[in-house]
Every structure is written in structure tokens, then in C-alpha cells.
């Protein structure tokens, strides 16, 4: 880094005639960014590259003297592994139920209802929903564990109403954790949609109302097309967040009973850290990345058509 840009010391506003000056300038402009670039390469790109490499080895955390390169063995093993396929299926269920259907629709419903509500109602609802969202994941998970468990709050309420008790955390664990995720993550969608709905010009909805369009028709023909971009962005962010949920499920069910709520991140953790098969676990992590990008691609396609 001993290279300095030679040149007259007197600063002149005129454009420099030589072409070496701009390179010097480009260099000195790049300098402030360089620590960040080095950091990113070192701590982000490096580990990701290392992960991709490990996925093709049989590295173990313990129980083996050295690891070797095994090519696509880990991936072959995954697709022949019932537990992996079960995890993929559950991940899809979890994502569709809790993110696509749950957070998204409830978020939109809350946002549109709040548009028409009075200010105090709006403030109170917003505060409650956002509280669920800002709670640390583990805290939220323990709350919901206490809510759903057999002697939990939910059954106390059901009992009070003389309804039969539930035991979803055992009978339908994937639904219990999906509900938990909806409870926790709806606020984000609500905020995105509130912002989007505020952007819709009042004149248009009013005009439609004058023309005699009912609530549902206004929603379908005016509101939804106008906030299409926000829907796409929200779906994308939501899906990627939901795909990587670990703490919530870990605390509530540990992926059990059996492996009836073992989504891909939990399966990955089990393989890598409980069965010590780091190589296989990493390969599964890469496959999870693929699942995520497939979802993203679908959304991108859906969003491409212009109104």
C-alpha cells in the first residue's frame, strides 16, 4: 500500500488532464470502504464458503480422526432419508400455515380494520400486537409453551367455558408451533400493510364506493392490486424468516414428539450437533437455502406482471 498518487500539491478545480489521477482518487475513495470489505470477506463470505466445502465432506464433531471429501454422498443420503423428507414436508406446512396463511392474512386484516378504527383502539391493538413481536424468541416460546401445555392457560380457559381440553402440543405439534409463530410474527405484516394501505389515495376508494362496489370487491379490485408490491416484499421477508425459525420450536417441542414438529432447522441441528455429523448437517443447511430461494423465485415471478 505504499503507492501514493503523485501530483501537484496545489488543489485546482480544473479537471486533471492525466488519467492516473482518477485512479488515485478512486483508490482513495475505496479506502474507507476497505475495512468493511475485508470484514465482510473474512467473517461472512469466508464461513459461507467453508460451509459449502464442509457439506461435501464427512466431517464429524467427534468420533473420527480425520474427515475426507465424499462428493455428493451427503445429498444422496438426505434424499434417501425418511426423516429428512419428513422435515422438508413439515417445513412447508409450517411456512404455508404460519407465514403465508397466518401472518400474512391476519396482518392484512388487522391493518385494514385499523384503518377504520378510532385512534385509541388503533393504539391499543397496535401496542398489543407489536409487544408479541418484540419479545425475544425464547421468552415468547416459553409463554406459548405455558399457554398450550396440558395444564396450561388455554385449557384453563376452555375448561371455564366448559369446552373439551386440547393437547395440541402432543397431538398436532406442528399446528401448535405454527399458531405460536403466527402469534409472534403477525405484527411485522401488520406494519408493512398499514404503511401500504396509507399510500392508497382516498379518491379511488371513494370513487369505487360511489359506483356501488362493496367492501370485498373494493378489496379485491382496488386495494390488493395497489399494494401488490408490498404483498410480495412482505411474503418474501416473512417466508425467509419463517424458514429459519429454530428457537420457538426448540423450546416448545424440541421437534417432538417423535419428529412430528421437526422442521429443517431442527433436523439440521440434530444431525450436526446431537449426532455430531457436521458434514451432513451442513449439506442439509445448503438444501434449506435452496428451499428458501425456490420460494423467493416464485414470489418474484408472481410480482413481475405489471398492472
Amino acid at each position: 500500500m505504499a503507492k501514493t498518487a503523485p501530483g501537484p500539491g496545489a488543489p485546482r478545480p480544473a479537471r486533471p488532464p492525466s488519467r492516473r489521477k482518477p485512479t488515485g482518487r478512486a483508490l482513495s475513495r475505496a479506502l474507507p470502504v476497505s475495512p468493511a470489505v475485508v470484514l465482510l470477506l473474512l467473517f461472512l463470505a469466508g464461513p459461507i464458503g467453508y460451509c459449502a466445502y464442509i457439506a461435501f465432506t464427512d466431517l464429524q464433531l467427534t468420533g473420527q480422526a480425520e474427515s475426507s471429501f465424499v462428493g455428493f454422498d451427503n445429498f444422496r443420503k438426505a434424499f434417501g432419508d425418511e426423516a429428512f423428507l419428513n422435515a422438508v414436508w413439515l417445513t412447508l406446512v409450517f411456512t404455508v400455515v404460519s407465514s403465508l396463511i397466518g401472518q400474512n392474512t391476519i396482518g392484512l386484516a388487522l391493518a385494514s380494520l385499523m384503518q377504520r378504527a378510532s385512534k385509541p383502539i388503533r393504539t391499543i391493538t397496535g401496542a398489543i400486537v407489536i409487544t408479541a413481536w418484540v419479545l425475544p424468541e425464547v421468552v415468547a416460546a416459553f409463554l406459548l409453551y405455558a399457554f398450550f401445555r396440558r395444564e396450561g392457560t388455554l385449557n384453563a380457559v376452555l375448561d371455564f367455558l366448559h369446552l373439551p381440553p386440547q393437547n395440541w402440543m402432543y397431538t398436532l405439534p406442528i399446528l401448535a408451533v405454527s399458531f405460536a409463530n403466527v402469534w409472534r410474527g403477525t405484527a411485522f405484516s401488520m406494519l408493512v400493510y398499514s404503511a401500504a394501505l396509507n399510500e392508497i389515495p382516498k379518491e379511488i376508494t371513494e370513487a369505487a364506493e360511489v359506483d356501488g362496489a362493496g367492501g370485498w370487491r373494493r378489496m379485491w379490485h382496488i386495494t390488493l392490486p395497489m399494494i401488490r408490491r408490498s404483498i410480495g416484499t412482505n411474503l418474501m421477508l416473512n417466508t425467509l424468516q419463517t424458514l429459519s425459525v429454530f428457537g420457538l420450536i426448540w423450546v416448545m417441542t424440541r421437534g417432538g414428539p417423535g419428529n412430528r414438529s421437526q422442521t429443517l432447522p431442527l433436523f439440521m441441528y440434530e444431525q450436526a450437533f446431537q449426532k455430531s455429523m457436521i458434514g451432513y448437517g451442513t449439506a442439509v443447511a445448503l438444501l434449506l437455502l435452496v428451499v428458501g430461494s425456490l420460494f423467493s423465485l416464485v414470489y418474484m415471478r408472481l410480482l413481475r406482471t405489471e398492472v
Binding site: 464433531l61 468420533g63 401445555r149
Partner: protein
Amino acid sequence: MRPTTPLLLATALVAAATLTACGGDSGDDPDTVKVSFKQSTDNQVKVMDTFLADIKKQFEKANPGKKVKLVPIKAPDSEYYTKLQQMMRSSKTAPDLVYEDTFLINSDITSGYLKPLDPYLKKWKDWDQFIGTSKSAAKAADGKTYGVPDGTDTRGLWFSKSIFKKAGLPADWQPKSWDEILQAARTIKKKVPGVTPMNVYTGKPAGEAATMQGMEMLLYGTGEDPMYDPQSKKWVTGSQGFKDSLKFVETVYKEKLGPDVSDALDPNFATRVRGELLPEDKLGINLDGSWLPQDWGKGAGHEWPEWSKKLGLAHMPTQNGQAPGKVSMSGGWTWAIPSEASNPGLAFKFIEQMQTKANAQKWYVANSGIAVRKDVAADPAYLKAQPGLKFFTDLVPTTHYRPAYPAYPKVSTAVQEAMEKVTTGDGSVDEAASGYDSEIKAATNDKVIEK
């Protein structure tokens, strides 16, 4: 060159220097020994912290100029292992002394994480005081010893005297076979409503507790070497004993003699058994370990001084009462030195300090551990220190150690999965057993033998 350029250059250089410093050496001090241990996840349980702080004081007094740095890792067992393995992978992070579970030690030895201790043990007089079986707990296939055990444990049946009284069962209950246990549980179920008749740990959430306190306590009562065949050095598949043990587990949960299945498969269930169900007289029979009283002692968090009057102890019988009549499994933890440790000599000195007769005895009692030193085991003061110690110490001669070979952790998970299948009723005993067979074939590269 504009005047800002040198400034920018300097900033970049400083930043780069800082970055490389991050990855620099953590500064190993040849006079400091770093000791890693598992801190209880229960904030109120400080048994180990207190003991080590005391040893640290003794050690620093006996070795002027030397320092001890305690590095607690607060995590449940399985996560503690993972964290430790990651620390031992590099000389920059490896402690000088680590607390290793015998469950995993062979696996870690194979990975080359640990140092053989033979040269140190040769010069250490006290090593002769250790009971033979305990010495082999940390002996690897290469014949070298990699860890010094700090006590062991045994397992048996705990039962609630008041529930037994209500059910009309004897206060000095001692079942002679599996059937007698089930009969007692059925009697409790019939006569004492509202309590859990019996607990057998099961399924993946319970982890090694399900394998060892549950399955192996049954399996080792069905015949010789039911899990691993030492002659052929292969893992046993397709054995009748395995199916019978699964059948027992299935019976407990099918006939509702055990906890509700959703409770049994709750990851926090073991904590509830110790802190809630037993002290509140809500559990009839509990198949569990010798260490339970460590949670009930003074200042341990769930004080229950009268436990020894409320609970009875019985040894676990063999399947049909065949010789030797009783079954116990033993595990335990050892102190080991990582191969990447920077001060191995000093670390071994610390082990010596911990394992003097007086200190070892202090530790066994505080930890409800079973003595592995002959002189302590024979000391009446030790046997009287805590009710139950004598009962559990007497099981040592007939106890079994796990086949803790490198593949064991994976085999253990396969056991838990099979147990979970029959517990939830997702699969029959035969399905679960054949699932186990194919799992361990994969985990051990086909090193299996039919029995």
C-alpha cells in the same frame, strides 16, 4: 495527493491491524491453568462451583505464583459436549483441563481431542486407590488412559412410601422380576387415583436419561452383553432382550401406568420429577439415578430434608429374577486434558489436588456421587454422610458400564427413537426394533451381529 489521503490510509491500516489482532493469540500464560466445567442450568444449584472454588484456593496456596482460571459452561449436557468439542478443536480456545462425560470420552479420544495421561499416572501414588472398573471407564481401545474419574453413579428404583401405604404395598418393597414391578404399578393405579404410578424415562427429549435410566436398566437384565459383543467387537441387533425391554416400555405407557405421554416427552420432564412429582408425593415408582438427593440438600434449591423418610429404595431386578438378581448401570464423569492444552503438567497437578482422599470424599458427598476411591468407599464417615449412599455403593460390584465406544452416542439416539415409537404408539415393538437395527447398521458401518 490530497491531505485526506494519508489520514484515510492510516485509518485503513489501523483497522486492518485491529482485525488481525482479533484472530491473534489469546495470550496463554504458562502459570495459569484454565479449567472448563459444566455449570448447572439451575441457577440455585452451585455444587460444582463451590467445590472448584475451594480447590482453586488450596491449589494457589500450595503452588505460589500459579493461578487457576475457572471457565464455566452453562448448558444442558448435550449442548455442553458440543461447546466443549468446538473449544478443543483449536489450541487458541482449548482449556487446560476439561470435565468429560464417560458417555462421550471414547468418541473424543478417537477425534484426537484428548491427551493420554499414562506418563502422569505412573508417577501418581493415589492412582492405586482407584477401583479397577472405574479406571477402565476412560481407557481407550489403544490401552491408554485418558481421564481420571471423579466418582461414578448407580441406578435403582425410588418409591414413595406414602403412596405404597395407600396402595397396600410393603414399605420394604423389593421386586424380584419385571412383572412384579408392573404389578405394583397396576395396584397403585387401581387404589391411588390422581398419582402417576411409575416413571421410566423415554424418547429423544429425555436424551441419554432415556437410554441409560430407561432402556439399559431393562436390557442389561435380559442377558450377557445385550448391546455390544466384546468378542466380535460388534453391536448387537435383533435380540429378543431388546424387544422384551421395548415391550416393557410399551406396557408402561399403553396401560397408562406411566406419566401422560405428552409429559413423558416433554424436554423439561426430568426436572419436574425431581423438583415436583417426588417431593409432592405424586409419583409411585421412579426408575432413576443415585444422584437425585443432590437437588434436595441444604442450599441446593429444592430443599427437602425429609426425603430419606419419605422415599424407599429397591434395586432393579433382572427380567425373570435370573442371577445376579439385580441390575445397575454406571456412568460418571472424568477430568481429562485436551491435546491442545498449553499447560498439561499444571493441569494434572490440579487433578491431583482435586483427587486427594479428603477432597474426593468432599466431592462425592456434595455431588451425591458414588466413590471410586477404595479408601473413601471403605470409610464409615462417607457411607453415613448421606442416606442412600450405602445402598447405591453396594450396587457397584454388580453394575454395568455402557459400551461407550465412538459409535455409542449415535446408538443411544437410535435407542431413544425406538423407545419413543412404542411410547407414542406410532409403531409396534417389532417395527421399533427393526428400525433400531437399521439405524445402528448405518451408524456403525455394518459392524453388527445378530443375537
